[in-house]
């Protein structure tokens, strides 16, 4: 199938918890579709209540991270604010790491598009 656009780089921001709304699912579907089109996901940055994704039992993110080598970054200050950071690295779901807002800025600067999921 012919592609109309050359390969694009995406930065994805996720703002909602996995059980809160459909947004997390939308983001995962979008990411799969983008990868299937030959695009690149530079980083998925979890902010606001999105940080709860890193502590969820849902295996979808770990599976995506494993298959596609996604960089899943939980904002450390958002996690701290919700009491989810101190010494908790060991409890993070597979594929996630903590990072600062600088990681979001870095991804947005490298990306052709930045998308935000989850109100």
């Amino acid at each position: 199938m012919e592609r109309f656009f050359s390969s694009m780089k995406y930065a994805i921001q996720i703002n909602s918890a996995p059980v809160q709304s459909q947004s997390v699912h939308s983001a995962q579907q979008f990411i799969k579709a983008a990868l299937a089109e030959g695009h690149e996901i530079i980083r998925v940055f979890f902010y606001h209540d999105g940080i709860y994704n890193g502590f969820a039992v849902d295996a979808a993110w770990p599976a995506l991270a494993r298959q596609h080598g996604l960089d899943l970054v939980l904002c450390v200050s958002a996690a701290e604010r919700r009491g989810m950071a101190a010494g908790a690295s060991a409890e993070l779901a597979e594929g996630f790491r903590f990072g600062g807002l600088a990681q979001w800025v870095d991804a947005a600067l490298k990306a052709d598009r930045t998308l935000v999921f989850g109100g």
Binding site: V76, S77, E80, A85, A86, S89, G100, L101, A102
Partner: protein
């Protein structure tokens, strides 16, 4: 808990003062001794700045913002991470806040 000349002040598990209003220069000296950092006028300048910043803006910067804010206030020779790291090893904003009797700033594990 922190003992300062007969006063007992409450601190968090990370050693940050619970109530910034309990802070004075004696408290700062005890907080700094626990790191340990020996306070010079260069330290005081930054500590007074971050306290004034917090009290005015009701906000604490992360490391990156802190460097930029110091740069804006004192110029590039002080507003750079080398200068600030020399004063406050590891995390300048964290230790400036800790000694300044402020809450733990965002983004430090």
């Amino acid at each position: 808990m922190l003992d300062v000349e007969g006063r007992t002040l409450e601190t968090t598990a990370d050693g940050f003062l619970v109530d910034p209003a309990n802070w004075d220069e004696q408290v700062a000296a005890v907080l700094a001794a626990g790191i340990p950092i020996e306070l010079t006028e260069a330290h005081w300048e930054i500590i007074r700045f971050i306290r004034a910043y917090y009290l005015r803006f009701h906000h604490l910067p992360n490391n990156r913002m802190f460097v930029k804010a110091v740069q804006k206030e004192f110029g590039a020779e002080k507003g750079n991470s080398r200068y600030l790291h020399r004063l406050f090893p590891e995390s300048p904003v964290k230790y400036a806040c800790l000694i300044g009797g402020l809450p733990k700033p965002p983004g430090c594990i």
